[in-house]
């Protein structure tokens, strides 16, 4: 039997002593939080680990404690500086002393924390995710999707209880323009370590209704400091880049944009801002629609105007043609043309009035009235086309008969019938007064001319 035995307490006391003398008063140590618990009296118990960067294997582990008195100071300082609560997964830099307790064993007693280190660490991690998405060529994929003109069927990912969702829906439903939105909530956990998987699951559910929805909105009501590291997660960001519908975010960050914001089609600060954006979008879409409608109406109006001018010109030409004939008998025809032109003018005027009135197309309150107006414009167009066509035909027919009658009077037609014209120096002769024997005269026949010398004149 060995002589020098120790009680456990004696041994632990020795270890305690050895640790106390072998370590400095305090060290600045970096480590990742793998567990964190706060008990009822306000003490914070953690487990810190260190992982091998390549293999991700744990190479060191230690318990740590932040006593309530210290924790009350450290917690708000850390949270306001980093915009992030102390949660599992964070890498922190702490000032700690090494303690050994005979009953509880080894533990680090945390005395202070350096939030700047965690900020740098988070930024680095975020940058790595961004770099990976960029290298994979997916980072802009959701942004490249076209926002549908009619974005009104909205799949909303949010937590059911958050006030943010209620406000968002209220704002959309009660928009002052009377746009009709349809919202469907796909509930998800919006913070903490469950959030990543929960949001991805919600996206998967929406995916099965891909054809139905226009867009996806991810919103989160603001409020207390929450663990939003899920919005910097690679897999969630990756899912969003690959999603076939545009994803809009209103996650309510105090700090910089998250990776999810970065890959989203459109990133906005709050749920309210998303609602405003969607209402604005439909306003722009409706403005564009109104502009096109107005321009179409204007174009048609000017086309009718052109038709009117054509008609005027046609009538003017007809009148000119007829006046040239100086025939009294054509008064009837002129009268006919006048009355025809008046009728057509009247019809064209009606069309114009209808077009003026059909500006109500643009006024959504009077939509039904427009239907009637448009129908009447349509029948009027048919009528005017028929009228113009018929009157053109009729006028042309009448003009043809006038021309025919004039043609009969053409001297050439007289020659055709066997008469001839005798001229001297190109002037038709009606008497012999200025002629003398020996003069040369010409005789015009239907075909050909005769040159002859006067032998004898008979009065």
């Amino acid at each position: 039997m060995p002589v020098n035995t120790l009680s456990l307490l004696e041994l632990n006391s020795k270890i305690k002593e050895a640790i106390k003398s072998g370590t400095e008063k305090a060290y600045w140590v970096t480590g990742e939080i793998s567990e964190i618990k706060i008990n009822y009296s306000g003490h914070c118990y953690l487990e810190l680990i260190q992982k091998n960067e390549e293999s991700d294997q744990i190479v060191a582990r230690s318990r740590a404690t932040i006593w309530a008195q210290t924790f009350r100071l450290i917690k708000p300082y850390f949270e306001t500086t980093t915009g992030q609560p102390l949660v599992q997964g964070l890498v922190i830099l702490v000032k700690a002393s090494v303690e050994f307790h005979e009953v509880f064993g080894l533990s680090l007693n945390i005395l202070d924390i350096e939030p700047a280190f965690t900020i740098g660490e988070l930024a680095l991690r975020k940058q790595k995710v961004i770099d990976r998405l960029t290298e994979e060529g997916v980072i802009t994929m959701n942004r490249e999707l076209e926002l549908p003109l009619l974005s009104r069927k909205i799949a909303v990912i949010s937590s059911e209880t958050a006030a943010g969702y209620g406000d968002f829906v209220d704002q959309l439903v009660n928009n002052s323009f009377g746009y009709k939105f349809y919202c469907k909530l796909f509930p998800a956990v919006m913070q903490g370590d469950e959030a990543e998987q929960s949001i991805i699951k919600a996206l998967d559910r929406i995916y099965s209704y891909e054809d139905f929805f226009d867009i996806v909105v991810i919103i989160r009501g603001g409020g207390s400091q929450a663990d939003l590291s899920c919005f910097n997660s690679y897999w969630l960001a990756y899912h969003i880049t690959q999603f076939p519908l545009p994803v809009l975010t209103g996650i309510g960050h105090e700090q910089d944009d998250s990776v999810v914001d970065l890959v989203a089609h459109t990133r906005l600060k709050t749920p309210t801002a998303v609602a405003v954006f969607l209402i604005d979008h439909l306003t722009r879409v409706e403005d564009a629609l109104n502009t096109v409608a107005i321009r179409i109406t204007d174009e048609i109006r000017s086309l009718v105007e052109a038709m009117k001018n054509d008609l005027l010109l046609l009538i003017k030409n007809l009148q000119l043609n007829l006046k040239d004939t100086q025939t009294q008998k054509l008064t009837g025809l002129l009268y006919f043309i006048h009355s025809m032109s008046n009728r057509i003018h009247k019809i064209l005027d009606t069309i114009q009035q209808d077009l003026n009135r059909s500006d109500v197309i643009l006024d959504r309150m009077a939509r039904r009235q427009v239907e009637i107006q448009t129908a009447s414009v349509e029948t009027l167009f048919y009528r005017i086309q028929r009228e113009v066509l018929n009157s053109k035909k009729q006028v042309r027919k009448d003009l043809d008969s006038v021309i025919d009658r004039l043609r009969i009077l053409d001297p050439l037609n007289v020659l055709k019938r066997g008469y001839s014209i005798t001229c001297k120096g190109g002037i038709p002769l009606k008497e012999i007064e200025y002629l003398s024997e020996g003069n040369t005269i010409e005789t015009l026949l239907h075909k050909g001319k005769i040159h002859s010398t006067i032998k004898k004149l008979m009065p």
Partner: protein, 69 residues
């Protein structure tokens, strides 16, 4: 899932096409009334999509409730 006869984007593009034809004077006077009718139908369709409740959509949304979620 939904049988989309005409969607807003298509309707709007068609309106733009009619406008382009009018502006480039590619439209016959004979076609004018046809296009007036078409344009006013399309505008009406788009306005309806923006402002009117569609029972069909609400039905689908309600069915989703019983379904997956």
């Amino acid at each position: 899932m939904t049988s989309k006869k005409l969607n807003y984007n298509e309707a709007y593009k068609e309106l733009e096409a009619i406008l382009a034809k009018l502006e480039n004077q590619e439209l016959d006077v004979d076609q004018l009334s046809v296009y007036v009718k078409k344009a006013s139908e399309l505008v009406k369709f788009c306005k309806g999509k923006l402002h009117e409740t569609e029972k069909e959509i609400e039905k689908i949304l309600n069915e989703m409730d019983n379904d997956t979620i």
